[in-house]
């Protein structure tokens, strides 16, 4: 009964989305304020019904209702309850439900938290989001109904969730990632609304900015968690593989990074308006493309679920409609919104422009590398794969080009600045950065030039920020007073840029300094690596709730002193019989030690073992967290929350104008 209620709620949600897509847009077109005023109510109704539907699906999972096909193929009665809940989105149909749920969450959030938005704009924005919801809900209903029953012939037990996905990382990684992916639909909806209305001004950028920042923050966290999950769960100590699906989440992030910076120029100076709109369209299109790549299985990837060509086709058509439609609208309306503001070459605007070009080119090169195998295959020139060396060769130099500009950004002024002022501001940072770059890598022998370069660039970034904060605080009566005067938007920028500096050091240091050994070890063997001694004590059998495992016991010492006791496992899951490596990690701020079990080899209880020493690997995730924190902080800035009175007058003015 409950699954049928869920299915019914999903159909009702689809109808509401259809109404939301049509009615307010019609109202905005004809100036009918009654139709426009329906938008927030419809948006909340959409959330309620998608929510009911999602709750029904979850309850089917939690109650082991194996008459539902999805539950039977992705859950098992032995699964711990929390993973039963996660199994809801550990599969194609359920993850689409999550998409729809998060989309309706964002839609309702826009409806609820936009008191400052004129009704005309709000109704257009919600309409666009309703149209996107129509696309996804019809996809769910027509091609991937999660509530299909297995009648008759209900299986006695389910065939289990893929063991790789039975992990705390899966509880939060997809929802956060989707919050980011789908969050760009808000920026997209604002852009389309602006094009429809033909009005694109500073207030538009001010409405759009906090939403974009929040979406970007969630996406950063989602990507970071994915990388962390791959690191400890896949058992080979890698944290980024340039896998097509990783790229699928990374491309919207790159486009989104360009977008939040170009929005800054649009809000502060009214510049790059049509460009900003284009970036918003681009970021959301890349999110959709990512969904297509993940769901259609056209590319070899660790994320591909068993696939169905009809689904791929549906998303491809949807993608074509969204991209084609929005670009056509852009072509028709962009001339009406373009700006006529000039700026000097030596100014913050130019630096932001550099940022935009670098991030866009980076997004395009990643896009090209990801789609290249498809292009070659379509041309009948064989099956190729583009490996990490391509992406590293293209991506790393681009980022290295970016950082010098990025360090200068905060100290530069809008509109016009002078080279002499830049020089005066940056003399100290340059000197200190060079000293740091030369000396800090000496701490870790042998001397590594790439690490020296990374330290130099990060120090330049960091010191540029310090210089600017000092500059701003100096004018105030006291330091505390000066610090309090800094806006949330500014603090967010500082924290996010600081996070980027952490990322650079973490990524370069861990890539350059990591030590990795695959070796055969007998119980009692010891191996020295990077100053640590790993002693393999024994292997014993342990039992988990739904698996049995061989568990190795390692004692790690350094100069005779005890460091850690580590217990990697090789698990065999009872329901599916699949084998999984569970790595043991001794985490630290400056280094991680990582042990994973391979397989038993030869006689005498010998095992293939993988030992890693990974310095500063945590810094890159810490950096990503800082970036997200920065973006959240910036979204809290006071200027995004104007009073209601000024809104009402604006409302009247807009309606009058329309």
């Amino acid at each position: 009964m409950i699954p049928e209620i869920g299915h019914f709620a999903l159909i009702l949600a689809f109808c509401l989305a259809l109404l939301l897509a049509v009615l307010p847009a019609w109202g905005a077109w004809r100036g009918n304020s009654v139709a426009m005023a329906l938008a927030p109510t419809l948006a909340i109704g959409l959330l309620v019904f998608v929510g009911i539907s999602f709750a029904c699906l979850s309850s089917a999972f939690l109650q082991d209702d194996f008459s539902v096909a999805l539950v039977a193929s992705h859950s098992n009665s032995l699964l711990p309850p929390i993973y039963k809940f996660c199994a809801v989105w550990g599969n194609h149909e359920g993850s689409l439900m999550l998409w729809a749920l998060i989309l309706s969450l964002w839609t309702a959030a826009v409806a609820l938290f936009s008191p400052q938005l004129p009704l005309l704009v709000l109704s257009r924005v919600l309409s666009v989001m309703g149209a996107i919801a129509v696309g996804f809900l019809s996809f769910s209903l027509l091609t991937s109904n999660p509530f299909t029953r297995l009648l008759p012939g209900i299986p006695a037990d389910g065939s289990d969730l893929n063991p790789l996905l039975q992990d705390p990382g899966l509880i939060i990684h997809p929802p956060l990632l989707y919050m980011g992916y789908v969050g760009f639909s808000v920026a997209f909806a604002f852009a389309i609304a602006a094009l429809l209305g033909g009005r694109l001004d500073a207030s538009w950028a001010r409405w759009s900015r906090p939403w974009t920042n929040i979406a970007w923050a969630f996406l950063s966290l989602g990507i970071m968690l994915g990388s962390w999950w791959a690191y400890y769960e896949l058992g080979w100590g890698g944290w980024w593989f340039w896998d097509p699906v990783e790229n699928a989440s990374f491309m919207p992030w790159l486009a989104g990074t360009a977008l939040i910076h170009s929005l800054a120029a649009t809000e502060k100076r009214g510049l790059f308006k049509s460009w900003t709109v284009l970036l918003a369209i681009f970021a959301f299109s890349l999110s959709l493309l990512g969904t297509f790549l993940v769901r259609s299985g056209v590319l070899t990837s660790v994320h591909a679920f068993a696939t169905d060509p009809a689904r791929g086709m549906f998303i491809l058509v949807f993608l074509a409609v969204v991209v084609g439609g929005s670009l056509t609208l852009y072509a028709l309306r962009a001339p009406a919104v373009s700006s006529r503001v000039g700026f000097a070459w030596v100014s913050r605007e130019s630096l932001l422009l550099c940022n935009n070009v670098v991030f866009l080119v980076a997004a395009l090169t990643v896009l090209f590398g990801t789609l290249f195998p498809l292009i070659v295959d379509a041309l009948g020139m064989g099956k190729v794969s583009v490996g990490p060396p391509y992406f590293n060769a293209v991506f790393v130099p681009l980022m290295a080009l970016l950082v010098p500009v990025m360090g200068l950004g905060p100290v530069s002024r809008w509109k016009g600045d002078t080279v002499r002022r830049w020089r005066a501001q940056m003399v100290m940072p340059v000197l200190v950065a060079v000293v740091c770059g030369v000396t800090l890598p000496l701490l870790h022998a042998p001397y590594n030039v790439w690490v020296a370069l990374a330290v130099l660039l990060s120090a330049w970034l960091l010191l540029g920020l310090v210089q600017d904060v000092l500059q701003r605080v100096r004018g105030a009566s006291s330091t505390a007073h000066g610090l309090r005067r800094l806006t949330a938007g500014y603090c967010g920028m500082v924290v996010a840029h600081l996070g980027f500096a952490f990322c650079i050091i973490g990524i370069v240091a861990t890539s350059q300094y990591s030590v990795e050994h695959d070796l055969k070890m007998h119980p009692g063997d010891a191996r020295e690596m990077a100053g640590y001694e790993f002693r393999f004590i024994e292997v014993s059998e342990v039992r988990g709730p739904n698996f049995i495992a061989d568990q190795a016991h390692f004692e790690v010492t350094r100069n005779g002193e005890f460091v850690a006791s580590m217990h990697p496992q090789k698990r065999r899951y009872l329901a599916s019989g699949s084998v999984m490596t569970e790595a043991a990690i001794d985490a630290g701020f400056f280094r991680d030690l990582y042990v994973a079990m391979g397989e038993p080899v030869g006689e005498g209880g010998a095992w293939a073992m993988r030992l890693h020493y990974k310095p500063l690997v945590r810094w890159m995730w810490l950096g990503a967290i800082l970036m997200a924190v920065g973006a959240f902080t910036a979204a809290l800035d006071k200027r995004y929350r104007r009073t209601r009175e000024s809104v009402h007058s604006a409302n009247k003015a807009v309606l009058h104008g329309a």
Partner: protein, 149 residues
């Protein structure tokens, strides 16, 4: 020219120059870093280049997996049920690697016709087959158990 328009011209020039640099980088990076996929029968027929990175995919032949006693070296054969190619790899295999299952090995073909693999990918759940392997089997006309279709 109107100053704003002039500035826009410079901007476009800048973007073009920058994009060309990027395209140059892309072409340079692509040259050394793409590897073509070959099914076993094409490798045996001598169509795959020797000494260049390639990828080979097929089913792991039952009973072909041999481990060295003193190191992590492992030998096995990949087949599309028409021909098979020996593969040698040193290191830890993915969890889902098994005899009779699909796998993709990337590495360099030596002059004896043995693929010296640097990376082995196995399918990651029972419902999923690497698309290249599925395609290779499609071409050879066998299903994944080796029965003719």
């Amino acid at each position: 020219m109107h100053p704003v328009r002039k500035q826009r011209l410079y901007l476009v020039l800048f973007v073009i120059v920058f994009a060309s640099v990027a395209v140059g980088l892309v072409v340079y990076a692509l040259r050394g870093n793409i590897n073509l996929f070959y099914p076993p029968s094409e490798v045996v027929a001598g169509k795959a280049p020797v000494g260049q990175p390639i990828r080979l995919g097929g089913m792991v032949v039952e009973g072909s997996v041999e481990r060295a006693t003193d190191s992590l070296e492992i030998r096995f054969e990949l087949t599309d049920f028409k021909s098979s190619v020996p593969v040698v790899y040193t290191g830890i295999l993915p969890d889902l690697f098994d005899e009779g299952q699909g796998a993709v090995a990337s590495g360099v073909l030596n002059s004896q016709g043995v693929l010296e693999a640097t990376e082995i990918l196995a399918k990651h759940d029972e419902n999923y087959m690497p698309p290249e392997v599925a395609d290779a089997l499609e071409k050879s006309g066998f299903d994944h158990k080796g029965n003719t279709k």
